[in-house]
Amino acid sequence: MAELLLLVSLAGEQVAVRASEVESVVEIEGLTPVPRAGGHVAGLTALRSRVLTVIDCMASLQPGLRIEGPRDAMVVVADGHPYALLVDRVEDVVEASGEIAPVPASLSAGWTRVATGYVPVEGTLFLLADVHALIAGPLAEAA
């Protein structure tokens, strides 16, 4: 069975994320900042009674950048902790039409860490992003 993918736009790219890893898509309202946390941690938000750690995927790709405007986020559970990954926009859910191909080495720095491969969808190639790498943020690289 073809894998379902969630297409999001992030830093001007159309990126695919495995739909199985995404619990839901929400719009973030109200952020509680987390002072002294890594730059990619935008804050905390409550989804019903759950506290989600909100990750700014732009900052995760490249420190210093921020997601502006719309507050679309993917809810992801990693290691038992719920996260909301802020992206520019959540576009669509599509079916992969082929196997995932390895990433060529020519991606820019942030993407090298985040992208796990290319995946074809109806003849177009999309970057497949790893949610865990986005959550880990740029600090994980140095560690």
Binding site: T32, L44, A46
Partner: protein, 779 residues
């Protein structure tokens, strides 16, 4: 015990259920090793559990089956159909017995012997045939089930959602006119939500008994390994604790007990010599005190040698000699929790590798608990673990800093004081400060500084929340506002948040907004305040009287020296652009706001963009003192060793084992301050063209408070200094001071002073300053 049996029954039945398929498969293929292993593990587990519960029939059955299967596993016997049948018969019987126990019905007749006999290699066919499973009995209703914690968490979350939704609904209902019936219905919903919440909270609770149950066996084993006799007393097993919490304190408890038996309790011979009974007493008890559970582990062994700990800590450089001298007994004992300290003379397989007690403390603190130690040498040790009643719901205080709310666990809070209140004295400097409260000193940590958020309240308007940590250390946290006490449902925070080291978890406030729970110990670590040191100082401060001790500010001067200045003299610390410093009028001045202040601390304009400046004040005058780096505030006791030469440095003091130069404020103010308006100062005339006096003597005269002019520039003067070889100028001088180049006076009548005799010079200058004004007025 009922709980444990319930667990055993549930576990056994669950395993039997899972084994059903295996048994059938094994029957079809007796050579299958994996199936055999699975069945062997089952009977082995049942056997182990039975021994613990004193269930002889189950024990006999499982033991026999285990023996037979062990022979098959070791290859001594092959698995034939008859053996399979016999094992199946035993498994069925175990199932029946367990069900009977659970249902409280009478167990089936005791024909276990036949079943066991069927296992043996030589047995006739009839016996085997007589052992079919009897599975037709009605099942008793289950009294206990096993659930995953995950599911419990989901239920807990669901109930929290309900509570939030109810609160929201209540707010909306308040705003509109409501019929009585609606109100009643809402009340009912509200009450049942509270009930469900209570019940779900209870599902997480477990008796401490489960934690204590393995102890008798453990203590017995430890005793026989070490050749000691130990009597174990257990008390308070019916206290209930959160299941997760029980898991968290299992290791610390085990560790403390191992230590007690291995190091605490002496060998029988030694105990006899000490006049104690041969068997050592180990007492483990649990009790509830307020919202905490206290678990005490006490032994009557040899106790902890506090002095040995201190010696070891000194050897490891954990404390200084000075600190050691001022440490009270409890603090010395608490050193046992420092990493790398173990007083055990020999490393044994059980304990004493110098790792452990620090881990114990860390584990207990991680769940919001505290651990204390008390010991009398020769009479034993008592450890007290204090853990919050539940991990998930803790009473907390909501505070505000930088416009954001934070929660603090109430167990960590000692008291809350307003800075302006009577009896509270705060010496505060750009967030680093010391508060004196009823004779105790505490470091002040401004929450907004630690968090790097904006300060909202004016200095002096903050509230201080006094926080205590393990071992009696304490500090004051300055916050903008204190809100309500609330029951907080605390959830673990994600690793990204925990990485800051400042937070213990997250929670939701009444409106359903996330709030961070602060970690008091983490805040102290982050702001670089050593609680140990402060605590030691507290005790010393309260005991020795405060007048002996004064707070000082440590800094690095531009010359690279480590210096300190008395804290009360520091009015403010500012960071300013170096461009505000100008050399003018023979000295450096700095522009601070609308003021121009004389600048001390450096001779040239520092070669950097920003400069830290201490604003020193004597109450009237203000002087800026430039420093390379502001380090810390500490309190200094004892007088510094005075310097030989007067100057910027008054003396040298010992701070944390390092020599620190203490600024001479008097000298600095007399030198840099406009000590007296310029024209008001006494005038000293120097000879014209005397290079030595101009370069060598002039600064000294000026520092003594004189204006200096040349002979001929003024008609009268308070003092005229001349070389004794020169002719005395014709000036209306109140006094004339003659200097000679030769160290030895030329005769008894020679009233000149040797020009390098500083003391005599200053004496003459000093006495001059007291006389001249009147003289000048007359002149």
């Amino acid at each position: 015990m009922d709980d444990l049996i319930g667990d055993f029954i549930a576990e056994t039945r669950e395993m039997l259920g899972a084994l059903g398929g295996e048994v059938v498969a094994w029957e079809a293929e007796p050579q299958d090793r994996a199936r055999l292993d699975a069945i062997f593990r089952f009977v082995h587990t049942v056997k182990g559990n039975c021994g613990f519960f004193d269930l002889p029939r189950l024990n006999g059955l499982s033991h026999a089956a285990e023996d037979a299967l062990a022979e098959v596993r070791s290859g001594k016997r092959s698995a034939d159909a008859r053996l399979v049948n016999a094992v199946l018969g035993i498994l069925d019987r175990i199932g029946e017995l367990v069900e009977a126990m659970e249902g409280g019905t009478a167990p089936p007749d005791d024909d276990d012997a036949t079943l066991i006999a069927a296992l043996s290699e030589m047995v006739d066919e009839e016996v085997v045939a007589a052992a079919p499973g009897t599975g037709g009995q009605p099942r008793a209703p289950a009294r206990s089930i096993r659930l995953s914690v995950d599911l419990l968490d989901r239920m807990m979350n669901g109930v929290s959602d309900l509570v939030l939704a109810r609160n929201e609904l209540a707010r909306r209902l308040r705003d509109c006119a409501m019929e009585v019936e609606t109100e009643e219905a809402f009340e009912r919903v509200s009450a049942s939500i509270a009930e469900v919440r209570e019940a779900i909270t209870r599902t997480r609770m477990q008796r401490v008994e489960t934690l204590f149950a393995p102890l008798p066996r453990m203590v017995r084993d430890l005793g026989s390994v070490t050749g000691k006799k130990v009597v174990l007393e257990i008390d308070g097993g019916d206290v209930e604790l959160d299941r997760e919490m029980i898991e968290m304190i299992r290791d610390p408890l085990t560790h403390i007990i191992r230590n007690a038996v291995d190091h605490g309790i002496e060998a029988p011979g030694e105990r006899r010599r000490a006049g104690k009974s041969e068997a050592g007493l180990l007492r483990v008890s649990a009790r509830q005190a307020g919202n905490q559970i206290l678990i005490e582990i006490a032994d009557d062994g040899r106790g902890i040698d506090a002095e040995a700990l201190v010696a070891k800590a000194l050897g490891h450089g954990i404390i200084t000699l000075d600190q050691a001298g001022r440490m009270p007994h409890e603090r010395k004992l608490a050193l046992v929790f420092e990493a790398g300290l173990s007083t055990a003379k020999a490393v044994t397989s059980i304990s004493g590798r110098g790792v452990g007690m620090d881990v114990v403390r860390a584990n207990v603190e991680r769940i919001g608990g505290l651990v204390d130690v008390d010991s009398t040498l020769g009479h034993g040790v008592r450890f007290t673990l204090r853990v919050p009643l539940t991990l998930t719901i803790i009473p907390g205080l909501i505070v505000e800093a930088g416009g954001q709310s934070f929660a603090i666990p109430r167990s960590a809070i000692d008291e809350i004081v307003r800075i302006r209140a009577a009896g509270v004295r705060v010496e505060s400097l750009a967030g680093a400060g010391v508060v004196t409260l009823r004779g105790h000193r505490f470091a002040v940590i401004a929450l907004s500084d630690v968090l790097g958020t904006e300060r909202r309240s004016e200095a002096g308007d903050e509230l201080l929340v006094l926080l205590k940590t393990t071992g009696g250390g304490a500090y004051a946290l300055a916050v903008d506002q204190v809100h309500d006490h609330e029951e907080l449902v605390v959830k673990p925070a994600s690793p990204a948040v925990m990485a800051t080291g400042l937070y213990a978890g997250t929670t939701l406030d009444g409106d359903g907004k996330p709030v961070l729970l602060l970690d008091p110990a983490g805040l102290a670590t982050r702001s670089g305040v050593s609680l140990d040191r402060i605590e030691v100082e507290n005790v010393a401060g309260s005991g020795a009287g405060e007048s002996e001790r004064r707070p000082i500010l440590l800094f690095t001067s531009f010359s690279g020296a480590k210096r300190a200045v008395s804290l009360p003299a520091v009015h403010r610390i500012e960071e300013v652009a170096a461009s505000t410093i100008r050399a003018s009028g023979g000295r450096l001045h700095i522009t601070l706001g609308e003021q121009i202040l004389p600048l001390a601390g450096c001779d040239t304009i520092p070669d950097r963009d920003k400069v830290h400046v201490l604003r020193l004040t004597d109450g009237v005058e203000e002087i800026a003192y430039a420093v390379a780096e502001v380090m810390d505030t500490v309190s200094l006791d004892g007088a510094p060793v005075p310097c030989q030469q007067p100057g910027e440095v008054q003396g040298v003091a010992l701070v944390d084992g390092e020599q620190v130069e203490l600024l001479d404020l008097f000298w600095i103010f007399s030198r840099h301050g406009a000590a007296a308006p310029h024209a008001d100062r006494p005038l000293c005339l120097l000879p014209q063209d005397d290079a030595w006096m101009d370069t060598f003597l002039r600064p000294l005269i000026e520092s003594a408070g004189y204006r200096v002019a040349r002979v001929g520039e003024a008609a009268t003067a308070d003092l005229v200094i001349v070389d004794e070889s020169e002719v005395e100028p014709d000036v209306g001088a109140a006094r004339v001071l003659k200097l000679r180049a030769n160290p030895e006076p030329r005769g008894a009548k020679d009233d000149s002073i040797h020009r390098y005799d500083r003391a005599a010079l200053l004496g003459a200058l000093g006495s001059a300053t007291s006389t001249p004004r009147a003289a000048r007025k007359e002149a």
